[in-house]
């Protein structure tokens, strides 16, 4: 259980991550708002409370790694990395700009702290499995975390990776499914329903936890704690989240996947945070 003070601190950090992200996207004119806002609490929980990382040494071999397989969520990952001191937050002004080192999808060759390049959906989890295998081989106790979209889970490659992780008993692999219920063309339930995720992951031999409120720090951290107590299996934590969380008028709409924020919407959102 978090202390009141800690919870308030984390909440404040998530607020800051959202603000930095929305401002950066507003500056470019357009961007992936829905799927960045849905994972703000998760990223803060990971970077502020869970992951073993050293921002001054991003390639530290003993670090915990994060693969954001839904690579289009890059803006908020960059925001959190900047908040952690991986690079100057001023750099966020250059998101998607000409010659930028912060491209729209996660790029490990350009951004300190990004552990895997992603962008074509479904490929990141395979890479995360590869990382966890490497750690297992080298007897490192580091964890590998991955964030996979609910729509993204329609890619067969995700299930190819899921099978392999179970076979290899990758107990230090924790995958978060950002189950925000929306994809580009509609609600996931209408396009291709993948729910219930926990049942699927269990059928494929994983330890699966369903988190009722994917924006609650207590619930997220408790699930990660539970995962770490459970040996011999990889872990899937299904986060019931809200697409475009805290952006007034856009919450829980699939149209929020990628859109242009007006000045008014930005101000409203920032106030709302």
């Amino acid at each position: 259980m978090l202390t009141e003070e800690r919870r308030a601190f984390l909440t404040q950090r998530a607020r800051q991550a959202r603000a930095l992200t929305l401002e950066a996207i507003y500056r470019v004119g357009r961007g992936h708002i829905g799927g960045t806002m849905s994972i703000a609490e998760l990223l803060i929980a990971l970077y502020d409370d869970v992951m073993r990382v050293d921002p001054s040494n991003p390639s530290w071999p003993e670090r915990d790694r994060l693969v954001v397989s839904k690579g289009h969520a890059a803006p908020i990952v960059y925001a959190v990395l900047a908040m952690k001191g991986y690079f100057d937050p001023k750099l966020l002004d250059t998101l998607n700009a000409n010659g930028t080192t912060l491209p729209s999808h996660c790029d490990m060759r350009k951004v300190p702290g990004i552990d895997m390049t992603a962008g074509s959906l479904g490929q990141g989890l395979s890479a995360a499995v590869g990382m966890a295998l490497a750690n297992q081989m080298d007897h490192r106790d580091s964890y590998v975390y991955a964030i996979v979209g609910d729509g993204e889970s329609q890619e067969g490659q995700v299930w190819e990776a899921v099978m392999l992780a179970a076979q290899r008993k990758l107990e230090h692999l924790i995958v978060f499914v950002d189950d925000n219920g929306c994809q580009v063309d509609g609600f996931t339930g209408d396009i291709l329903n993948m729910r219930p995720f926990d049942q699927k992951y269990r059928a494929f031999g994983w330890h699966a936890i369903y988190v009722e409120d994917g924006h609650s720090f207590d619930q997220i951290l408790d699930a990660i704690h539970q995962a770490k107590q459970t040996p011999d299996r990889p872990h899937a934590i299904i986060l019931n989240t809200v697409k475009a969380k805290h952006v007034p008028g856009a919450e829980n709409t699939y149209q929020s996947h990628c859109f242009s924020l007006t000045r008014e919407q930005l101000d409203n959102s920032l106030r709302n945070l």
Binding site: V28, R30, G71, N96, A97, N98, G99, T100, P103, S104, H105, D107, T117, A118, G119, S120, L121, G122, G151, E152, Q154, E155, G156, Q183, V184, D185, G186, I191, L192
Partner: protein, 310 residues
Amino acid sequence: MKALRDAFGDEILALGRENPNVYVVDCDIGKSCKTLEFARQLPQQHLNVGIAEQNAAGVSAGLATCGKIPFVSTYAAFGSMRMCEQIRQEICYPRLNVKIACSHGGLTPANDGASHQAIEDYGIMRTLPNMTILVPCDYYSCRSLIRAACQWDGPVYLRFTRDPVPFIYRESDQFEIGRARTVREGGDVAIIAAGAVMSLALQACDLLHSQGIEARLLDMHTVKPLDTAAVTAAIQEIGRVVTVEDHNIINGIGSAVCEVAAGLGRGVVKRMGVQDQFGESGPYFDLLEKNGVTAQSIADTARSLVTGEN
């Protein structure tokens, strides 16, 4: 100005209304690929398989074996790379009547960066037997070629681009698969281009004209089967050829023209296009410029062939 993906949205709707066997198979990006209206008006002829492109190709092959004419609609990066195996195996090899209709070809998904830019798509397709490749350059030729693709019995890869491009033709112009179109006549140098860079090639022709150089500009909208007669004529009558494309200079129109020229044992070809490097996020014309593709550079290259300077 009008975007080629809008031409797809408009023409596929018209085709679908005329022929109930015309299907659209979406992969969760119908909005960007302009198939929403088709889905709304013709739900019985529409499928959305979600983010599962490999599956979309296989599903379409299955549909085609049942007499449907499915148009798989996705981005060029996924429609070529992600589905590569499935297109070859399930569509080209059995020569099934499936159309791969891709928006966002070349560097045009400029902001999305390298993972979404398709700089090798029709190069891949050109290597696959039985494949026909169409790369239209404006709204009207695009609509005409989509219609021709629908009537063509066999696999077709169509490459559209994202942003509005200038009109080059009139609504009444008709286009034939495999027949290049002469956009400008001239005898000093030949420029062979296709797709969204056509407007740059046209500007280059104007620049050259002001310097007293007349360029023949060919619209090579069908990359495969290549109009070898038109290319051969350009080499034999002129002998100096510049190819311009929004594609890797390897395996695209430039390579195809080189094959013909080398086979003839004469002529000189300069390939302009993506310089065998990955894309990045940035404005479209800046990305082209980074690869040395501007109206000015096309004109300069053409002039250097004419004057023999390098």
